[in-house]
């Protein structure tokens, strides 16, 4: 889980930071030390863990540093450029910058780039790149112009990919952005045009980039407050040609678009970015860490004194100018749990500021789908996107729907929901449904009279909801004794807790027959047993004997048998007519179908009143008898309960309530029947066990045939 730790200021000394802020913060060759270049004349070396400066160097009055100082990792020296053209190289022992090595170059330097493992590169304002060593060998060498007139370098970054230095820089010309990728070893320069996508007049405020094996992932923070990602191949498919790159949306509205202050973006690792800026137009500036994989805000920190809109990240430290002083915020990203990654956003109670959705949309491509395509393909995608954009109204229907829920009447909501569902499933369908249900339920809780039943039914039937997404839904349905909705939930939700299942069962058993008549439950799991019950009655005696190969006549020790046989008519009647009405049977079947774990279910089953238990047991026994009438041991119907489900539930109920049930006179017959049933099963299995011995003998015989003894002569043919 990404976390920002307590910030600290590097020095109380106020840096001479201009309106532009600092010139740069760069790593030095020691892990804990950083070079800070202010926009004036000074370079300071800080040791971060000690929070104190180790050294400070200034250029002469009248000179001005134009390029942040960097460390040459190969020699341990520091390099800085002042007055655009004058290069200075010094090391820790030097005191005066005036007296150190000096080289005057023939062109203006944009930036010196240095990373661990290679020599520093010098990027000139005209786009040419030189290695520092090569440049120092002949400082006055002619520097060619790479970029066109009026094209200005906006940002640059230097990577080492597979030990090959790769330089990327972004230029801007009349609102168009171009990316140049220079493979320094092979001296291949590839130019790409960055297509801005739907929002043509947005201005890119900040860039950051990370690199993996094949692509440079260039992330840009636009003036509309969204983060876009562009994948730039490291090895161009067709160098020399001008190619276009399309960007894909990564995060939406992370900062307010029209913030007064600058915004900055820095990639922290593969999945996290840090964004500096104000989340809302009016609010204070904030440093926030976003997980781009899950599109969640991981953590954020308010910076009330304002920043310069600059952000650097090295190692585990984020550097920024907070107020007037350089502030360091340690950043840590430890192994995180899913729950943690699902967002640390506070549940916003304020209905007005519904900024970010609670539901993660897993369906939309997370930056992996829209990779780099060659220019022709990307243009096609752009065109399609444009069409989509034009189709969508200014306010998306989802937002409209959400606002409707908050205010309008049930009828109106229903119409709106239906309208929304009729629409083609949009990529954020899940999210919208989730938000809608949450909104509806919140309103239900707030207004007891508000119960948009039809709406909820429709939403449940979209198959995208689950219990954990909206636990309140079943709670409200239980309160309202809405068996139809409960049945629907039981059928649709995969993750209902056992306590809720049990609460449903209680309601299903206790609800009066007359109130059941009014409801409209789904009857597909119930077969109308009454239709062929007359026909069955004749078969009854026979089937009972034949079932499972058990003959009750063999059963000698059963003294209750006689008692049972006294009222044969009762028995037949009891077993053939369904003990519950059809609608209740349908509801109970929904319970039988639901998933559960015994350990969690048992304690809740004990709370059900005894007469209801008996009723349910009778029903289950009835189902069992119906099952065993059939050779395949299944019930007729479209989606009937299976034999295993029936047996498991019988066992569960008896386990939970045996002491109660055994005391009830009306349950006695049922128990005796069940006892007989178990007995018959046992005798069947004992018969099977007997057969198993014979089978084993047969197997042994078969093995002996293969076992050839100690000596044999065989024929072998090799092919």
């Amino acid at each position: 889980m990404a976390a920002l730790e307590e910030e600290f200021t590097l020095s109380s000394v106020v840096l001479s930071a201009g309106p532009e802020g600092l010139l740069g913060v760069e790593q030095s060759d020691k892990t804990d030390q950083f070079l800070v270049t202010d926009s004036g004349r000074t370079v300071i070396l800080y040791k971060v863990s000690d929070q104190k400066p180790l050294g400070s160097w200034s250029v002469k009055q009248g000179q001005i540093i134009t390029c942040p100082a960097v460390c040459n990792f190969q020699t341990g020296e520091y390099v800085v450029v002042h007055d655009n053209k004058v290069l200075r190289i010094w090391n820790n022992e030097d005191v005066n910058l005036d007296k150190v090595f000096k080289a005057t170059l023939s062109a203006e330097v944009y930036r010196i780039l240095s990373v661990q493992g290679t020599e520093p590169l010098v990027l000139f304002k005209e786009g040419a790149v030189r290695g520092l060593e090569a440049l120092l060998a002949d400082p006055q060498q002619k520097i060619e112009t790479v970029i066109s007139d009026e094209e200005v370098i906006k940002w640059t970054k230097f990577f080492v990919v597979f030990r090959h230095p790769v330089l990327i820089f972004i230029t801007e010309k009349h609102g168009n952005y171009f990316a140049y990728v220079q493979m320094f070893n092979s001296r291949i320069l590839t130019k790409y045009t960055l297509l801005l996508g739907q929002d043509e007049n947005s201005v890119i405020k900040s860039f950051t980039a990370s690199v993996d094996r094949k692509f440079i992932s260039l992330m840009s923070l636009s003036s509309d407050g969204c983060i876009y990602e562009t994948l730039i191949p490291i090895r161009p498919a067709d160098p020399g040609k001008n190619q276009s790159l399309v960007k894909s949306l990564l995060l939406k509205a992370v900062v307010s678009g029209n913030a007064r202050n600058g915004v900055a973006l820095t990639a922290l690792d593969q999945d996290h970015v840090a964004v500096l800026g104000s989340p809302l137009a009016a609010s204070k500036e904030c440093l926030s860490v976003w997980n781009i994989k899950f599109q969640t805000l991981q953590t954020s920190k308010e910076l009330p004194q304002g920043t310069s809109g600059q952000l650097w990240y090295y190692g585990e430290h984020l550097f920024m100018l907070h107020g007037k002083s350089l502030t360091v915020i340690p950043y840590k990203c430890e192994v995180s749990s899913l729950a943690g990654a699902l967002g640390k956003l506070k549940h916003s109670q304020d209905p007005g500021t519904h900024v970010v959705s609670h539901f993660v949309n897993w369906e939309t491509p997370q930056g992996c789908g829209l990779g780099f395509q060659n220019s022709e393909q990307s243009r096609r995608i752009l065109r399609r996107r444009k069409i989509e954009v034009s189709l969508q109204p200014e306010v998306p229907p989802s937002k409209q729907l959400l606002s409707t829920i908050m205010k309008d009447s049930e009828k109106h909501i229903e119409v709106e929901v239906r309208k929304f569902l009729a629409l083609k499933q949009t990529p954020d369908f899940h999210t919208v449904i989730g938000d809608t249900v949450t909104g509806l339920l919140e309103r239900c809780k707030a207004e007891p009279s508000f119960y948009p039943r039809n709406c909820l039914m429709q939403l449940i039937q979209t198959h995208v909801l689950s219990y954990s997404l909206c636990p309140d839904l079943m709670e409200i349905a239980l309160k309202k004794k809405d068996v139809q909705l409960l049945q629907l939930c039981l059928q649709q939700f995969p993750d209902i807790p056992e306590s809720v299942t049990c609460a449903c069962l209680k309601i299903f058993l206790s609800i009066g027959d007359d109130s059941l008549q009014e409801t409209d439950v789904n009857m597909e799991s119930v077969f109308d047993y009454s239709i062929n019950s007359v026909h069955d009655e004749k078969m009854e005696e026979q089937t009972e004997i034949l079932q499972n190969g058990f003959n009750p006549e063999e059963d000698k020790c059963n003294n209750c048998d006689q008692e049972l046989n006294k009222k044969p008519q009762d028995e037949t009647k009891e077993s053939t007519s369904c003990p519950v009405v059809q609608k209740r049977a349908a509801l109970l079947n929904a319970i039988l179908h639901s998933a559960y774990s015994e350990t969690f279910l048992l304690p809740h089953l004990k709370d059900i009143p005894a007469q209801h238990i008996t009723l349910f047991l009778k029903y289950l026994y009835f189902l069992y008898l119906k099952c065993s009438e059939n050779a395949t041991m299944t019930l007729p119907g479209i989606h009937p309960p299976t034999l295993n489900q029936i047996m498991d539930w019988i066992c569960l109920l008896l386990d939970a309530n045996f002491t109660v049930v055994v005391m009830m006179p009306e349950a006695k017959r049922l128990l005796i029947n069940l006892y007989k049933l178990v007995k018959s099963q046992i005798s069947v299995y004992s018969e099977l066990n007997k057969i198993e011995v014979s089978f084993r003998e047969l197997q042994k015989l078969n093995q002996e045939k293969n076992n050839r003894g100690l000596y044999s002569i065989e024929v072998l043919e090799l092919f």
């Binding site: 000596y711 002569i713 065989e714 024929v715 072998l716 043919e717 090799l718 092919f719």
Partner: protein
């Protein structure tokens, strides 16, 4: 390819002895294994786990401890109270030295390798200095009250831990006095056992002592304070062995239930520097007691009463998929224990202390592939020849004519003359063996049974002329000056002109028997020779190496044959190279000069040199006979390797005549049936 009648023999009642100790040598990547009969075997893990050397056992020499010291020197100690050093070149025991402390239970070489510590029955711990050619007693440590069962040096060499009965002592090496005495809990699952035997200790560099004991516990002790730090109860039976990795980040213990547990030092939470020992992986590759374990950098090695030597690679340490990445179970010796008289259809089986001679049966019936034919005569057990003395038999041989049997122990060489009169056989020992024929590493008769070739352990090869009931020493090829390497494998050409001899590392020497001089030396190869034979007529020497390469070398031309060069150019099939048992026997078909017959423990193969070699895309082994394929297809898919995997584990296979093969199998079930019963473990439902 050919139809054969196969005598499928399963009456070779061979049971390997249980493994008592293993000692891994990191420097040479070799493993020394001692068995309960006193045999010591050396496995070269770099050479595809080939058992390259062995020292025959001795009845009175139960090895209890084995260790490498001074780099490559191997020492063992046992219940006869002696410390022995083995000569790995000449393959004999350099010397045996009584430690005068009664039976020795444990031994450990100091981290520097210059000192040897033994723990004795009388409770004494004795320190020996290793001198270049011997060991020298230095001093006793404080006498303990009961036997010292386990010893371990602190990596710095300043302290040692000694496991005894009911307690562990820590000694200061300089003073020889006990610094700490840590009492081990006798309680076993709440019941107080009579004694708690500390079977193994390991002293880590941070001062932790790990002990394993008969109550099933693995315990961690702090040697500085002498306190128990942590205890893991891992078995209901004894934990008998422990071995720690060199990096001290993992160790392995073996229990009497046959389970091997891997413990690793892992961080308490991710990214935390605090680490703790965690039991990570249990392995159950043994059915019986795991008497000993070793920890190589990439594998856990275990051995025990069930006679298997198991190498379990640690997958996280193995980078490439090669031999090291596969689980390996070595059960059978990598040398031939069976010889065969083709003329009389006799098989001679070699056991540790006796020989058995069997006559194969016969049949008159014929059949098709896979049929078992009715026997007209069953196999007969003709002879049971017991050795005299406590020494194990090193090697044995029956002559092709069946009238001579020779075998050798470490100190004596025996030659017998067999006479067959109808169904009776009489046995007469040839007496007065010359002194130089004291001990042989390998014995071979020439094809016409007139000559006997003996590789003695001094490196000399003797040729003995046999005629009638007498023998005459013809010649001795002395080893090249300066080498003492013993020859382990012999092969003679069917015409009796050439004799090939191979040691464990140098190349194969070929001698001209007629002119009694060295003919040539086959260039040395990186991997040891596992089997070799000389083909009739062509006099091509076929050599199999432990990396599964097979070479054919023409003796008259003194060069590799064209076929061999082709094979080397194209390379063997990858599945051929991935087999994990060495080829132990090579023979030839008298009528088909293009065929080479060879086998390892799990397959038998006829190489037809006239057919194209398989490449990696072709199917190397096709167990199903070609059915409805046309001749063209068959010819196109046919390749040189004809493999049969019907007989396994296959200890011996040879051609008796053109149409008859003999295959000696030893099913593992039969071995297990003869082992002592394992500790009964309660299984579900029993």
């Amino acid at each position: 390819m050919g139809e054969f009648k196969v005598h499928r023999v399963r009456f070779f009642n061979y049971v390997p002895s249980g493994i008592r100790c293993v000692a891994y040598n990191n420097q040479s990547n070799r493993l020394a294994v001692s068995r309960t009969d006193g045999t010591v075997e050396i496995y070269n893990l770099s050479a595809n786990y080939f058992q390259e050397k062995f020292f025959p056992g001795h009845e009175s020499r139960a090895t209890e401890a084995l260790c490498w010291a001074e780099g490559q020197r191997l020492f063992s100690a046992g219940l006869n109270g002696e410390i022995m050093e083995y000569d790995l070149q000449a393959l004999n025991i350099k010397y045996a030295m009584d430690a005068f402390g009664g039976p020795i239970w444990s031994m450990a070489a100091s981290p520097s390798g210059s000192q040897l510590l033994v723990g004795c029955e009388d409770g004494s711990v004795k320190l020996f200095q290793i001198t270049p050619d011997k060991i020298q007693f230095e001093r006793n440590f404080d006498r303990q009250k009961s036997r010292i069962l386990s010893l371990s040096w602190h990596p710095s060499g300043t302290h040692i831990a000694a496991g005894s009965i009911d307690y562990i002592s820590v000694f200061d090496v300089k003073s020889g006095s006990a610094v700490h005495k840590m009492i081990v809990d006798r309680q076993y699952m709440g019941v107080s056992k009579r004694k708690c035997i500390v079977w193994g200790v390991a002293f880590l560099s941070d001062g932790t002592i790990i002990s394993v004991d008969s109550a099933g516990k693995v315990q961690f002790w702090d040697s500085a304070t002498g306190t128990l730090v942590k205890s893991h109860l891992i078995a209901n039976a004894d934990v008998q062995s422990i071995a720690v990795a060199d990096q001290e980040d993992s160790f392995v213990v073996g229990t009497a239930e046959g389970t091997v547990f891997h413990f690793q030092l892992v961080p308490v939470t991710s990214n935390s520097s605090e680490k703790q020992w965690v039991r990570t992986k249990p392995f159950q590759h043994h059915t019986h007691d795991v008497r000993t374990v070793a920890h190589s950098p990439t594998a856990l090695i275990s051995g025990g009463t069930d006679t298997h030597l198991v190498f379990r690679p640690l997958m996280e340490k193995v980078q490439v998929k090669n031999y090291d990445a596969a689980l390996r179970k070595i059960t059978f010796p990598h040398r031939c224990l069976i010889s065969c008289s083709k003329k009389r259809q006799l098989l001679l089986f070699q056991f540790a202390h006796h020989l058995e001679l069997w006559r194969l049966g016969s049949t008159v019936a014929t059949g098709k592939n896979g049929d078992t034919l009715p026997l007209s005569k069953n196999a007969d057990h003709l002879l049971h020849l017991k050795t005299k003395g406590p020494e194990n038999i090193i090697c044995s041989c029956i002559s092709p004519c069946g009238s001579w049997i020779a075998y050798s122990t470490v100190s004596r060489f025996f030659l017998y003359r067999l006479n067959y009169e109808h169904d009776n056989i009489s046995l007469k020992r040839v007496s007065k063996m010359p002194a130089f024929l004291r001990s042989a590493l390998q014995i071979l008769f020439s094809e016409d049974s007139t000559k006997l070739f003996v590789a003695s352990n001094q490196g000399a090869l003797h040729i003995v002329q046999l005629s009638g009931g007498s023998f005459k020493h013809l010649h001795a090829f002395q080893p090249q000056s300066g080498t003492v390497e013993a020859m382990c494998l012999l092969a003679v050409s069917p015409d009796g002109n050439w004799l090939a001899a191979s040691g464990t590392s140098a190349g194969v020497h070929v001698y001209n028997v007629k002119q009694l001089k060295l003919h040539c030396t086959v260039p040395a190869y990186n991997f040891p020779v596992t089997a070799m034979a000389i083909a009739p007529n062509t006099n091509n020497l076929v050599i199999a190496h432990s990396d599964q390469q097979v070479f054919e070398y023409s003796i008259p031309d003194k060069q590799y044959t064209d076929w061999s060069r082709t094979v080397q150019k194209q390379g063997f099939h990858h599945l051929w190279l991935q087999r994990d048992t060495p080829i132990t026997h090579i023979s030839f078909h008298p009528k088909r000069p293009m065929h080479i017959l060879l086998h390892d423990a799990y397959m038998f193969c006829i190489i037809d040199k006239s057919l194209p070699l398989p490449n990696d895309k072709t199917l190397l082994y096709n167990p199903f006979p070609p059915t409805n394929e046309s001749d063209v297809v068959r010819r196109r898919t046919a390749h040189a390797f004809k493999i049969s995997k019907i007989y396994k584990p296959l200890l011996f296979m040879d051609l008796l005549d053109e149409r008859t093969l003999v295959a000696v199998e030893r099913p593992l079930d039969d071995i297990i049936a003869q082992l002592p019963p394992p500790i009964k473990k309660k299984k579900f439902g029993t």
